[in-house]
Every structure is written in structure tokens, then in C-alpha cells.
Symmetry: C2
Subunit: 405 residues, 2 copies
Amino acid sequence: MARLVKKFGGTSVGDIDRIRSVARRVKKAFEEGHEVAVVLSAMSGTTNQLVGYAREAAALHDAREYDTIVAAGEQITIGLLSICLQEMGVPARSFLGWQVPIRTNDMHGAARIAEIEPENLEKCFKDGRVAVIAGFQGIGPDNRIATLGRGGSDTSAVAIAAAVKADRCDIYTDVDGVYTTDPRIVPKARKMDKITYEEMLEMASLGTKVLQTRSVALAMKHGVRTQVLSSFEDKPGTLVVGEDEIVEQEVVSGIAYSRGEAKITVVGLKDRPGTVSHVFAPLAKANINIDMIVQSAADDNRTDVTFTVPEDDMLRAVKALEERRDEVRFDHLLHDGSVAKISVVGVGMRSHAGVAQKMFDTLADKGINVQVISTSEIKVSVVIDDEYTELAVRALHTAYDLDVD
Amino acid sequence: MARLVKKFGGTSVGDIDRIRSVARRVKKAFEEGHEVAVVLSAMSGTTNQLVGYAREAAALHDAREYDTIVAAGEQITIGLLSICLQEMGVPARSFLGWQVPIRTNDMHGAARIAEIEPENLEKCFKDGRVAVIAGFQGIGPDNRIATLGRGGSDTSAVAIAAAVKADRCDIYTDVDGVYTTDPRIVPKARKMDKITYEEMLEMASLGTKVLQTRSVALAMKHGVRTQVLSSFEDKPGTLVVGEDEIVEQEVVSGIAYSRGEAKITVVGLKDRPGTVSHVFAPLAKANINIDMIVQSAADDNRTDVTFTVPEDDMLRAVKALEERRDEVRFDHLLHDGSVAKISVVGVGMRSHAGVAQKMFDTLADKGINVQVISTSEIKVSVVIDDEYTELAVRALHTAYDLDVD
């Protein structure tokens, strides 16, 4: 017997028939003798409709009232799933965020979970009942509903799993697991049985939108074994776990890519302390998210700084820098909005030399020019011309022996 | 400066434009210096949709889960009205039932309000803010959402007005007040400026569906001055108040009628103690609501009992009696599904003789046969053939000098 938390998203609870399918899945786990807590999103479309109402009422609105409005969506689905489970003979009861309670900080609209008191859920398990919990919501220090921001239900599920010390947190999605790379680009991509938290974090922040980055970080912090699996098929997905659970670690686990990036180079900066800080201050003020940063070697007391930003922010970034030209003191700016970031990810590379070299060789063989390089302990990322994205991903997938036979 | 509770129903908050109209009305009262609490229903249609979902999930369902689902409707409208008020510069905040808190008993789905703690609302008034409160919902002893049954928002409003000792409770509806009778039947019907609780109770339970009977009874119990007025026009409605507030009391205040009634006569009962109890036991068991009951004078140790039931329940009532024929011991049953109840209502008739006589004379003049008579301190009701309903109402309205000139 295990204790399981199962999270289903909006499409999985889109109508009563689908909610019944979820109930059948939960029933199966319950009848196998497991203690089960279910975390639900709102019906797909509901949250958008409620957000639309709030915006129609006023473009700028009180985040506390917004939270009250949008939290209604999960309230509906948890009641409906509880009814469907009871109808199938499975004892169940619903919990709103304030009933658990899931305590958050006071950042309404994008709250963070501060604490989950497990007593009520423990009692529910002890009574032999399934706990059906509203995702995405909690209660703030002001005793008002606080929501966790869009997609926060993954985070709810992982946090609840941590609070009740669940054996596993199953996140049901519209994909059947985490792949070595995007199967739409590489048909030979392989579904991984297991991936480490660290790798999943890198993959998640690099466009593999299977799990919210935030929920992976939380799972890593609390050591919650998290499974990504399909809500439509009945087969195991990918387990996100600690390194110790993975016996034979591949050197490289996957190839991630991210399109829609832009590259900006600030040319001819005076090379002295504080120069880089002068470059990024106006960008921080403009709330522009910087990703990779590379400073080229100084030559004749002058240096260049290259960085990447989301393509949508490129022109704003250029404008912010031009406006502060006198303070920042640079010669001129270069920008290129059609670049992509390609990353090779794997915890095994910590103990293996030559991973980066193989990446550069492979790309060079295909005639792909590497524009920027950035490395971390478990990944190597490069910026290339966006046109070469598919070619680069396929070549690297093969080079690191990730193709299925 | 007064303290006011204002309640708006589903059609008044049916979309954002209408919610904005409500906000303008509330703003006006707020800017006149009043302390204002607003009680809202769900958007028209929302509650039906949510009830539909619950029924689709399972025909018989846990009332606690049902309550969780349907309470989502008011949660949405209170957030939206708060946003609209803030947008107009009126400080406002929303309160869910559990946030007030409005404590109920444990009858989920048809809960009764046990207690409203006024402290949070008092603080809201003191802070110079409008309190926007979800109608129809409270929190049960089990710490779960409990709803008051359909139309319960009127009751919420009156109970809140009693708890905060409001000077008046304004119930906005799609009619502009309470009339001496149905204006669709009698064009000369007059809108009353004031009506007593007792009269309103009789009118409400007789088909004048302006206010829920339950909310009138609550207003009477706590002496809450309640105004029924139009949510679409800006003019005074009808005040429901204690007798002391009405200086010149009319003998008869209004003529009420109720169609869809049926009359059943149990003929040839043995006239001895316990006979009547034998008649009504099977009906109580079948959950059939009995209205008027008349027992005719005994003749030769045998008696007849006549009573009225809702027409929809007539055949069930006849069946229930026939099944217990041996116990009840009667000769035969008569039933007539096309009768109407006409009532003359007025607290003034306590001190005036001849009110009933005028009713019988008026009906006789028009050739209308009175089938059953029943009286209370402030009303006289008769059962007549349904075909004569309009004629009877018009004739009585004129006879008691209620027509406007």
C-alpha cells in the first residue's frame, strides 16, 4: 500500500464524462489499497472565462478579488469528482484551499505556498476516504483566497505530496512522459523511464513544457518522487527522482531547445569595474528577463557583452539601452531576433570530459555556427541561427546515442 | 446617515454591464454617506448550470459536494462587483459566507442560518468600505460550505441586516413593489407604499412571488424594515414594516390568488376521535403538502373532510389514500384539479366585522360558487372554480375599494 497524490489538469476534467474517467482511474488506485489524494484544475476554458470577466470589469483590478473570482473554477471540479467517486462507491470528500488549509504568503494572484497543515488530510486517509483537493488555491494571511498563478496546480500537487509524505506524486498530462528531445522534431526520441530533478529543471526551463519549473524545484527540495504520465493512456510515464535512484546514469539525458530567443551585443564598452552592472541596470528597470550572458575577452581596454532575451522583449531592450547610452558608454549595439538556444543536458556530464567538445564537433560537421556558449554543471547551451534548430537537435540526438533503434 | 443592506438577484448581475449598473446604484448610496452592505446572487443561469453539472455527475448526490459546487456562482459575482466599485473609486471588499462568517445548521442544500458574527462587517463599515457579500451560502458546523436552498439570497440579506442592525434592507427585483393584487389581472391594481410583515407573509405564501416567505418571516422576527423595489428604475418601492409604522391601516390591503390547486374530499368517514389523523397520516408519509382543511358537520355519525393540495400532487394523494382505505375507512373520494384559492388579506380586518360577508356577497353577485372557506386572523380564503379566478379577483379588488382612480 502506498500513499499517492494524483493531479489532473483542465482538459482531463473538461466535462462530466472526462471527470468520470478520472474517477475510474482514482477508483482503481483506491481499490488497489492505496491512500489517494487528488488535486484538480478547473475545467479547461473556465479559468480563461473568469479571468476575462475580471478584465472586463476593470483592466487593473484588486488581486484579492481576482483570486476570489478565478478560484471558483477548481471549486466546481472538486465537488463534481467527489460526486462521481461516491457514485462509483468510493468514499471521497472535497477540500478547498482554506479547508485543508494550504497557507500561502500575501502575494495575491501569484502566491507562494508557505505551509500545508496535514492533519485534515491525514484524518481523511484514516477514515478510508479519497481527498479531492482544489489546486491553484490557498488561503493568505489576510484570511482571503490566494491563487498561485497560472499552472499552479502542479505546484499544489507537489506541495501536498510533500506535506503528507506521499510515496509518489502523479502528474497526468496530455503527453505520456518526458522524452530525450521533442518527438515532433526527432521521431527517434525516446521516452525516459527516469530523469533527475536537476535535469528536469533544465529541460523544463528550456521549453519542455511538461511540468512547471516551479513544481520541479519544489519536488527537488522536498524529494517528492514525481511521475509525469498520460491522462488518456494507462501506462507508466517518466519518474522524476533524485540521482540516487538512477543506477546507470547516461552522460547526456536529453537535448532541449528553445526558439523565440534574441541576441543583443553591446559593442565597445570600456573595460573597467562596474561596466556590466551599467549594462544590465536599465534592463532590470524595464523588467526584461536576461538569459545567457557572455563577456568577450578584453582587447585594448575595450570589451563586448552579449546576452539573450525573449524575442518579444528585444526591441524594448535595445530602446532601454539606447536611452542610457551616456551612462552605459558603448560604441554601438548589434541585435539578432532569429536565434535559438540548443542545450545538451545530463547529470552524468559532471564526471565525463568531452561532452561539450562532442557538441561543438557535431555542430561544426553540419556547418552550424555557434554564436554564444554557456555552460553549467549539468548542461551545455549554445546559441545558433534559428534556421538550423531541427538539424542541430537531430544531429546531437544521434551523436549522444539517444536514438531508439 | 443610515446603514443599508442591498440585495440584487441573478438578472441584476447577469453580465458585466449589469454589474456596473448595480455598482452605480451602490456608489450613489455610498456617496450619500450611508454604510452599505451588498448581498448578491449568482449570474442568472449560472446556478442552473452548476446544478445541472451536479445532476449529470449523479442523480443522487452528496449535499455537501452539491453545496461546494453551486456556491461558486456567488463567489464570482461578489468579486466582480467589488472590482467594479473600486474602479469607480468606491472602496469595497468581498466576503464569502465563511469569511463573514454566516454560520448555518448542518442541513446541507437547505441550510438555515444559525448565527451571523457581525465583527468583520462592522470593521469593514468602520474602514469606510462597502461590504459585498455572497448570498445563498454560509458555513456549516462541519466547516464546509452550506447553501440555503434556491432563492436563499433574500434570506441572507435580511439575516445580515438583522445582524448588523441595518436601518433598512432593500431587495431589488424585477417588479417595482408589492401591489394590491396582480396587475396583469387588474390594471387598476395599486402599488402599496407600505405593507405589514403579517400581510406580506400571507401575500408571499399565496403566489405573490416578490419575496421568499422565509425571508419575510425572518424580517418580521427581527423587525428588519425591508423594501421591495425595482433594480431597473430609480424610485421607491414597497416597505415591509411592523404594524406600528402604518398609521392609517386599510381594512383590506390586497387580494391574493393561487392557481394550480386541487381539492380532495374524503366522503363518509366515521365521526370518532382519531379519524382526521388517519386521513392525513398517509399523506404526510408521501410528503404531500396539505393547505386548507375543512371538516363538514357530522351527520348520522358520518363526516366528510375536504382539503387542498398542489395540483401536481393530487393523483399521488388520491393513490396514497386509496392504498390505506382499510385503515382510514371512508366511503369514497372526490377530487377536482381545477380549483383556485382566492384570499382577502389585511391586518385591519382584526378590528372590522363584515369583511368575510362582503367577500361572499361579492362572489355571489357574480354567480361564483364558494367551495371551501378558511379564515385566519388577517385573511379570508375561499376555493372556487379556477375559471372564475380573474373575475373574482377583479370584483373583490373593486369591492374593497382598492382600485386606483
